[in-house]
């Protein structure tokens, strides 16, 4: 008798739950989401993977014959360079976002006082405003007859407009602009969770501010940093519109290529290789985040 009660506790359900049947409960509550996840998330991903590893016939039908040709042809056409370039841009974006977000999140968490909610809200709004609209807005500012150029032309500092748009610089700025809020929020969540008495203890014990930051604050916000990295690195690696709209038609990144392959070129196997590679990098990062305790910061940031 006692043993069964223990088992029930272990499963974390109330005794009455047992009566009505444990499995039927899973089916009732989680059945729908499991169907949706399997059918519309896992299966499609699996198909992308299959398309990248199998031959495909002339009409895009799968032929079940294992091959690495798709990957080989992706490498041969120089798309590997595009991929590495994207990694570089994503890394750069991630670092820039950390450099800007850390002071900001730290400021809100420690000195925000009664304005905390408002300050956070002002970060959340841009992160939720349609991304295409924000890029359009950035474009109107950077364009050759955009706001910045008009302003310095009117001042008479330059004769001809400076080209901001369609340069690698514009892409860098655009990526940071788009994904920055997604670094601030998890960082804030993990900084807010810190016990202030830790700082006091460190200070009392004679720790200098910098040392205190490196030894205490930074390690304790590791989860937030990792969660922020997932929310910034991954989408900037796979970003389509920023390079497309701000980098010009010749500026290719991984996301632009995937979009191009699927929506314009109709090259499903080629696109699938790139998409599979992106998904793979995401899964590795996700694994690391969960391993190092960033899950909570990640789920909270939503």
């Amino acid at each position: 008798m006692e043993k069964t009660a223990d088992m029930q506790l272990e499963r974390g359900i109330q005794p009455d739950a047992i009566q009505s049947g444990f499995h039927s409960q899973i089916t009732t509550y989680l059945g729908p989401i499991i169907i949706i996840q399997v059918l519309f998330v896992l299966l499609p991903l699996f198909f992308i993977l299959a398309y990248s590893f199998f031959k495909s016939g002339p009409y895009g039908n799968l032929i079940f014959e294992f091959t690495l040709d798709n990957y080989r042809s992706i490498l041969d056409t120089g798309y590997a360079m595009v991929f590495f370039k994207s990694m570089y841009y994503a890394l750069q974006t991630n670092l820039m976002c950390i450099l800007l977000s850390y002071p900001l999140a730290y400021y809100i968490a420690r000195y925000g006082g009664r304005h905390k909610a408002f300050l956070l809200f002002m970060i959340v709004i841009p992160s939720w405003t349609a991304y295409i609209i924000r890029l359009y807005a950035l474009k109107t500012i950077l364009g050759s007859n955009g706001l910045i150029n008009n302003f310095i032309l009117d001042l008479g500092l330059i004769e001809l407009p400076i080209r901001f748009l369609y340069t690698p610089w514009a892409v860098s700025i655009g990526l940071v602009y788009t994904w920055l809020p997604f670094m601030v929020l998890p960082l804030y969540a993990s900084l807010e969770g810190l016990d202030p008495s830790l700082w006091e203890a460190a200070t009392d014990l004679g720790s200098a501010p910098f040392r205190r930051f490196v030894r205490i604050t930074l390690p304790l916000t590791r989860g937030g940093l990792l969660a922020g990295t997932i929310l910034v690195f991954i989408p900037s690696l796979g970003d389509w519109l920023v390079p497309y709209l701000l980098g010009g038609s010749k500026f290719m990144m991984a996301g632009t290529l995937v979009a191009h392959k699927f929506t314009t070129a109709g090259d499903i196997p080629g696109g699938s290789c790139l998409a599979a590679a992106l998904a793979f990098i995401l899964l590795i990062l996700l694994f690391l985040v969960i391993k190092f305790g960033g899950r909570e910061a990640l789920e909270q940031a939503l």
């Binding site: 996840q37 998330v41 198909f47 992308i48 000195y111 807005a137 500012i141 920055l180 989408p235 499903i268």
Partner: protein, 262 residues
């Protein structure tokens, strides 16, 4: 010490300006009489009037509204059910399920879009269009509801449920009369968040939309190659307002929690 706070303030202020300036600029210029949408030539409402006379925009707007509404109506109850199951039950594979639910949110949108596109055209009997857009929106919106409501579940007092069931109420009635009302702020908050989340989506929608069914973000995309235009400024303002209203709604729900908590 003083210097450090000044440094933090400066960086923070700069970051806020960086995030907000572009959005503020298009809001301001949506009221400018200049027809290239980029110079200030006096205040006008005429672009707002022009927006509602433009049939393509009106249709796209209506379509986006309908899609977002259906998504909210399906994803919110589904998210509630899922969150309840995830919170209550412990079973093998739960962590896997939780991570898989996270996937549609953290995956690059082009990957989700591409995967759904291939799946729809190769395996499903659907035509690309309304049904595929709505399915896609439900897929990437439900996770949001799940995690928002799970967050709420961690903060309510579950002994009320026990009490209600000890007194003989069924699980369903307990949910309807006790737990449901306690969770309401979280559920309504999730709904308020999903609306702009679905209304704003461009990338995934573009992949699965096919040719005919233009949503508002897709319309904006088609206009972008023409550069700035006052009508797009107005649409941008509309998007910003919808987002702010949705988020404020969610925030207010969150506030109400304080008074309903016992």
């Amino acid at each position: 010490m003083k210097l450090r706070i000044w440094f933090l303030k400066l960086v923070s202020l700069g970051t806020y300006i960086f995030l907000w300036a572009p959005v503020l600029v298009i809001i301001v210029f949506s009221f400018s009489a200049n027809k290239y949408g980029i110079k200030w030539e006096g205040f006008t409402w005429k672009w707002y009037a022009a927006l509602f006379e433009n049939e393509t925009v009106r249709d796209a707007c209506l379509r986006s509204l309908v899609i977002a509404l259906i998504t909210v109506l399906v994803a919110t109850p589904l998210g509630t059910l899922t969150a309840y199951g995830l919170y209550k039950l412990r079973f093998k594979g739960k962590e896997f399920l939780r991570t898989s639910i996270l996937l549609p949110i953290v995956m690059p949108e082009v990957v989700t879009g591409a995967a759904l596109l291939v799946f729809f055209i190769k395996l499903m009997p659907f035509q690309l269009g309304y049904p595929t857009i709505i399915i896609a929106h439900i897929v990437f919106s439900t996770p949001l509801a799940v995690f928002v409501i799970l967050g709420r579940m961690q903060r309510i007092d579950w002994s009320w449920e026990e009490a209600s069931m000890d007194l003989g109420a069924s699980r369903f009635n307990t949910f309807r009369r006790v737990i449901g009302p306690l969770l309401m702020p979280g559920i309504a908050g999730a709904a308020a968040l999903i609306f702009p989340w679905s209304f704003d989506d461009f990338v995934i929608t573009y992949f699965v939309a096919g040719i005919g069914d233009t949503t508002l973000p897709i319309y904006v995309f088609s206009q972008l190659r023409h550069g700035a235009s006052p009508v797009v400024n107005v649409i941008g303002t509309l998007f910003t307002v919808i987002t702010i209203v949705g988020l404020l709604g969610a925030k207010l729900m969150e506030k109400r929690r304080m008074t309903t908590d016992i």
